[in-house]
Amino acid sequence: MKTIFEKSHPGRSTAYFAAAAPGEKPVSAYLPEKSLRAKPPGLPEVSELEIVRHFTELSHRTFSIDGNFYPLGSCTMKYNPKINEKIAAMAGFAKLHPLQPFDTVQGLLEIMWSLERMLAEIAGMDAVTLQPAAGAQGELTGLLLIRSHHQENKQDHRTQILIPDSAHGTNPATATLSGYKTVSVKSDGRGGVDLEDLKSKLSDKVAGMMITNPSTLGLFEENIREIADLVHKAGGLVYMDGANMNAIQGKARPGDFGIDVMHFNLHKTFSTPHGGGGPGSGPVACKKFLEPYLPVPRIVKDGSTFKFDGAQPKTIGKVKAFWGNVGMHIRAYTYIRFHGPEGIRRNAEHAVLNANYLMSKLKTRFKVAYPRVCMHEFVIDNTPYAKKTGVRTLDMAKRLLDYNYHPPTIYFPLIVHEAMMIEPTETESRETLDAFADAMLKIADEAKNTPDLVKKAPHTMPVKRLDEVRAAKNPNVKWCTPCDPPPPPEE
């Protein structure tokens, strides 16, 4: 398929604005000549019809939840309800300027204030900020809260953050960005945090621990209360990465099992669309003692009026311009109001049911890394196939594309070899799960009998396997030639 630059021809653009009227002064009458471009930027010129064809074709070359089952572990690719889109697009939300006076946005402030409270309840915590733009920003916000807390309590010697070796890459990256040193904690034979290793690493140098629960292996930390106790006794705080909240929402609350601060991923648990890589939204919930450090402004209710309050002397400041990804707040609010308490709880129950069912259909032919009841996801270890047939997890993933499935998450978490992490979510039907299991079993047979078919997959995609070495060695990250300039306006 051609890029838009190859479809460009000077003079082709559809016009959307009236041409210059006689008597209109040129821009050089207002702006110094030396600050102006010599010629227009080399952007493509195509007609509106060509734009429609171009993007329609692009949409056909991409997998999506709307088109395909997407059992990506840790990503919670559940159905993105259309009502969320319809509501978020309403003019009364979409057309609001972020600096409008607060009395002109009372409806929206009420949504944000209410969403904060609903998330606090789901978290089992006292205060929430909606400002972080994504999970990683939420993690950073959370660690900065912890840092402020220790600073105020003259605990500046606490320079380390403990992180399990199964953690998502953003966790240690965030620790570094917050000015901390990461100390890795081993996982034990059951896939949980190794308590002995944890004890050996606790000291008065530890500012806190980042933990994901359920873990990236899809397992609930059985020792979570002891882990939290140990960290607290050593003077540290516990941060929870809330990526896996889909498994426990309405069933258990992090604030009840020892977590001090956590983030949510609205684009996972609360169905806001992934959009090809974002936007996300990473609200942070915390216990009362961390509330004074939350980013400003806070949303407060004064009588029946909602306001922004920037007067928070101990705040960490702002992590993002304006107030957060408000469009995503509206979608998440709509989603939670649609579900109510029972719907939210049922989401967890059926996410876990679907995962265990799918696991039961695969476990005779695939080695489950931790073979016991899982939460919303489970991890397969494909070393048996890699050893016996030479077919690796990567190959099976590519072959699944030929069966019209987006593959599960591969090679994560790092502590499982040839890992494949499968999370069906609650919105899939049993037929879809059966069909996916069938495809996996077929691929298992193919690996045994016709391994080359799998090793050279995919065969039915717009492209075959891509040369990533070439892309990294000689990066070619933009179209090399600017498009020819438009013709001068007609006399």
Binding site: D66, G277, L353, V373
Partner: protein
């Protein structure tokens, strides 16, 4: 209410296949003491019809201003978005796609990101751009981080003309990393180049915004020179619409350009989601944060696109990563991509031209209102400062008459006590401007 497909009959079969009696058995690993034994205290479920009514009522309690009646900018701009942008953007394939880690199944996503990167490079005059950042403020913060890493210096010089929200973000995220942030205040809407020169010693970077927060065009080539003479990087925070007319930061000698993509067809959405962008000269490619799409070939020599240089990112580098960004704003970058490709250079140029013309028309007409002045003489793009009697009350009265009359500046700049920041875009017609000026006269 939910979107679960399993019926009780399905669930029953599935439980049998798993080998447990009930769904509760699947939650046995949660210690009894921490199980939630009551329903969540959130409002009861609303069926879709009631949900729509509830949200419509909330939307009705927000006041939207006609596009032509909006004279408020300050980092969020009201531009006309052709209908085709919404229509294509809302396709479910784009909305519900995941990050394109499986390149063969994501050529559509990868290609539109590649096109975005290319056009951002073209506008900014740079060699490499990433797939988007959260917003202009965090993109700036990442650019500063790149400069600090590259120069191994800890002093950051920020022009006071940089959007105050962005400066706040940079400060919050840097103060605990031991960096010193030096702000050089603007004088009468321009950043004094001599003061920047003094501050530049030992700096990791000098950051200037062009057009600046008060709308003014800065002497950017001079700033780039000063930065380089001091061994610092030159970082520009820019407006993409203005770049249709203004010399690109690349051409003016800057190393890194950042900005906010919201003016490119993205609804104001009360502040987000938008799409920040960051672009740089090619020697900085390995220090760039976030996702980058590269062109390559497949096993049969056919052209394809893939995420590249992933060894920079958190999922590989982990604690050695220089940025923790994972999810970005791909969907909003798509919207900007469709907008830019739809308008083309002529359309974007026309929008920028109209912005300049209308803003200057307003500046000319507004001084005819008694008591109103345009005190500063700097050249401006589409925003400028006006001095107005009793600004807070005047703005309120304008609001009652249906106008968003600009941003009162005193809360941000103490000495601008009676000053308001006004903005015009192509959406403000001459008739709108006349109506505004008349309403202003009444409101004072």
């Amino acid at each position: 209410m939910d979107y679960i497909q399993n019926t009780p009959a399905d669930a029953s079969d599935m439980l049998k296949s798993i080998g447990v009696k009930s769904i509760d058995d699947l939650f046995a690993s949660i210690p009894e003491a921490v199980r939630l034994k009551r329903p969540l205290e959130i409002p009861p479920a609303l069926p879709e019809q009631d949900l729509l009514a509830h949200l419509s009522a909330l939307a009705a309690r927000n006041r939207t201003f006609d596009a032509g009646r909006c004279f408020l900018g300050a980092g969020a701009y009201n531009h006309y978005v052709p209908a085709v942008v919404d229509a294509l953007f809302s396709r479910g394939e784009f909305l519900s796609a995941y990050t394109p880690y499986q390149a063969e199944a994501s050529q559509g996503t990868l290609q539109h990101i590649f096109e975005f990167q290319s056009m951002i490079c073209e506008l900014t005059g740079m060699d490499v751009a990433n797939a988007s950042h959260y917003d202009g403020g965090t993109a700036l913060e990442e650019a500063v981080a790149m400069a600090v890493d590259h120069t191994e210096r800890k002093k950051v010089v920020l022009s006071g003309g940089v959007n105050p929200q962005y400066r706040a973000v940079v400060k919050s995220l840097f103060k605990h990393l031991g960096a010193t942030i030096v702000e050089v205040a603007q004088v009468r809407g321009q950043t004094p180049v001599a003061t920047l020169k003094e501050a530049a010693q030992d700096a990791a970077c000098i950051v200037i915004q062009n057009p600046n927060f008060l709308g003014g065009i800065e002497d950017v080539p001079a700033v780039a020179e000063i930065a380089h003479a001091a061994g610092a990087l030159a970082v520009a925070s820019v407006n993409p619409t203005a770049l249709a007319l203004l010399k690109s930061p690349g051409e003016c000698g800057f190393d890194i350009a950042v900005g906010e993509g919201q003016p490119l067809g993205i609804d104001m959405n009360f502040g987000g989601p938008w799409a920040g962008f960051i672009a740089a000269k090619k020697e900085f490619i390995r220090g760039m944060p976030g996702r980058i799409v590269g062109e390559t070939v497949d096993a049969e020599g056919k052209r394809g696109f893939t995420l590249t240089l992933q060894a920079r990112e958190q999922h590989i580098r982990r604690e050695k990563a220089s940025s923790n960004i994972c999810t970005n704003q791909a969907l909003m970058a798509l919207r900007a991509t469709i907008y830019l490709e739809t308008l083309g250079p002529g359309g974007l140029g026309r929008v920028a031209e109209l912005c300049v013309q209308r803003a200057h028309e307003l500046a000319e007409k507004i001084v005819k209102v008694p008591g109103v002045k345009v005190p500063f003489q700097y050249p401006f793009f589409h925003e400028f400062v006006a001095e107005i009697p009793h600004p807070a009350q005047t703005l309120t009265r304008l609001q009652e008459r249906g106008f968003l009359g600009g941003l009162y500046l005193q809360p941000i700049f103490r000495d601008l006590r009676d000053h308001v920041l006004l903005c015009c875009t192509e959406r403000n017609t001459s008739a709108d401007i006349d109506a505004f000026v008349a309403a202003l006269a009444e409101s004072i």
